[in-house]
Amino acid sequence: MSAVLAEMPETATPATTKAIAPSKGGRPWTFYVLATLFAFYVIALYGPMFCIYVLSFQDIRGGLVFPMKGYSLHWFVDLFTQVRTGDVKGSFDRSIKLAVIVTIITVVVSFLAGLGFRRRFRGDTFVFYMMIGSLVAPGLVLGLGTGLLFQAFGLNASWYTSALGAQLSWTLPFGVLVMFAVMSRFNHAWEEAAYDLGASRWQSIRLVMIPVLAPGLVAVALFGFTLSYDEFARSLQTAGSLNTLPLEIWSMTLNVTSPSLYALGTVTTVVSFVVIGASLGSIVLIQKKRGSRAKG
């Protein structure tokens, strides 16, 4: 075969083989170009965040810009003890509580919407667009409107009423969209089989639908939590007198001039990672549990 190739005139070998096929020496030049491009992408994505994290570990002499001045956890302590930095602890508390409430409502409502849309019904397309339509409204405007509405009804704006409502207008449509994607892979014959075997409607939801859809429900929950936890635009005009964490960070950027601000960034990132890790971990756990039971 190689002898035949050797006899062939130069022009017969296609030019492209040079670039794509791994030659004797190593990778084609395109690999190095694309790898460099990817390296820049990663730097652009994580570089800014990394600066914040690094600078938050300075000691008491620390400033807002490089170079690094010593290493300590001073600014983390400062964050939770100093009154002048703002109500970090309180706002963090509120944000977590709010995110949990939003998550629960989002999961329950999205699941019920998924159940409702198992079969087609008159006007289902209209109902669907009504549900996700609010996604196109700019968050700031929607928050402003929510604030106005509460004022018109004579209600006090607060994080657990108006801000909750404004955030749900953001998380529910997302939750419903994710849920629909999850439901599209649910085989309705499973439900019929459950009914055929004598399960009540509630039993077929509890014993078949929820366990089968569990990974999808965790995904909806994760969406709800993270969207709520760092939600800013909709909360700005609706949180009332007590700030949520993103609002607190924002106000700190206006008046705090110490690395406490960076320490806060580090802490919130850690919390986000913990939540995401817990969610993905629970999905893996669900699958692993099934697998191990299967192996007996």
Binding site: N187, A189, W190, E192, A193, A194, Y195, D196, L197, G198, A199, S200, Q203, L207, V208, P211, V212, R290, G291, R293, A294, K295, G296
Partner: protein, 368 residues
């Protein structure tokens, strides 16, 4: 009022989904207790809808469904004591084989120990013991079918309904699982109703074959009856193995009549069940493909053959124990002879040969 009998009677059953067209249109049928019944027809003929109505997943628009002497319309599947095996099985993906099979007992509130013991007994019966702790996704198609069968059978139904149970399997496994279905049916001693669109499957399995077209039953009877004595052109063509010819009645003489055809003497057909034939009627007849003999022009016809139609060989297919010879005997319809392998190769034809297609007069069957 409760009965263990699994005999089924369908009386005037109609089903319409849109209120205009009937998917199932006035079906009357009696299925004996412990029978293996196959519904067969092209897709959209209403066979699956009938199955789902018997199962209780669909309510008839009108008519009665009686199981063991009790009208079951409006009852849930468990109250009917029917169980269904779904197309592609619908096994619960998050439960092991054992838990899948025990599901029906779990929702009845049986204790865990009891239901797992019962499930294990059933697992034994379908020979899946070593797979009891696997998930459905870890099983082959044939094993999944056994799980589905066991899961349905554990409810101790009077009637087991199977919706195209073999369609998800490959050819070889299909033949094997077909036997297993029949074995299980005999072991359980209950009525099986099986929907299929494969003729071979139906006649291989069923005590009662029900041929359907557009929501109506065209013929119901024993497999040999339906295959060898089709009522009409539709059944003959659908079940296969028959040549269908049509022609005008030329003369009627006592026990037979003569059909005008391209053949010089017409086709002589025994009258049989078809009592009234008058001259001028257009009549369909069926001749089994394996009853057709082919002789070279000018040779003597085999004894008992009065009809011979000159034909040209269009194509030849070797099928192993017989040879399929396609002929242009009838202008617009297929005409095929199944010639035994040894007969064919004693004096083989080639494409384009002219032959005389003939058959014993008694084997021509007039159709309705």
């Amino acid at each position: 009022m409760k009965s263990d009998r699994g005999d089924i009677e369908l009386a005037g059953v109609c089903k319409s989904f849109d209120g205009i067209t009937n998917v199932v249109d006035g079906v009357n049928l009696r299925i004996a207790d412990g029978a293996y019944c196959c519904f067969i027809g092209p897709s959209g003929c209403g066979k699956t809808t009938i199955l789902r109505m018997i199962a209780g997943h669909e309510d008839p628009t009108s008519g009665e469904i009686v199981i063991g002497g009790q009208n079951v319309v409006g009852l849930a599947p468990v109250q009917r004591r029917t169980a269904m095996m779904f197309q592609s099985y619908a096994l619960f993906p998050h439960l092991t084989v054992r838990e899948n099979i025990a599901f029906a007992l779990r929702v009845r509130g049986q204790s865990k120990a009891d239901r797992l013991r019962a499930a294990d007994a059933m697992i034994d019966k379908v020979r899946l013991t070593q797979f009891a702790d696997r998930l459905p996704a870890q099983l082959s198609g044939g094993q999944q079918q056994r799980v589905a069968l066991a899961r349905a059978a554990i409810t101790e139904p009077r009637v087991l309904l199977l919706d195209e149970p073999l369609s998800a399997l490959d050819e070889q496994l299909r033949v094997q699982m077909r036997q297993e279905l029949r074995r299980m049916q005999q072991e359980l001693g209950i009525t099986f109703i099986h929907v299929t669109h494969t003729q071979l499957e139906a006649i291989a399995l069923a005590d009662l074959v029900v041929v359907m077209e557009q929501g109506k039953i065209k013929q119901a009877g024993a497999a040999r009856d339906v295959y060898a004595h089709p009522h009409d052109r539709y059944v003959a063509e659908f079940m296969g193995g028959q040549n269908v010819l049509s022609g005008r009645v030329e003369k009627v003489n006592g026990a037979s009549f003569t059909l005008s055809q391209a053949a010089p003497d017409g086709i002589e057909v025994p009258l049989q069940a078809r009592a009234t034939v008058s001259i001028g009627d257009i009549v369909d007849i069926a001749v089994r493909r394996d009853d057709v003999a082919l002789v070279r022009p000018g040779r003597d016809l085999p004894p008992g053959c009065t009809t011979s139609l000159p034909s040209r060989v269009l194509a030849i297919e070797y099928q192993g124990y017989f040879v399929k010879v396609m002929l242009d005997t009838v202008p617009d319809d297929e005409f095929v002879a199944y010639v035994p392998e040894k007969t064919f190769f004693a004096d083989p034809f080639t494409v384009g040969d002219v032959v005389m297609a003939t058959w014993a007069t008694g084997s021509a069957l007039p159709l309705a």
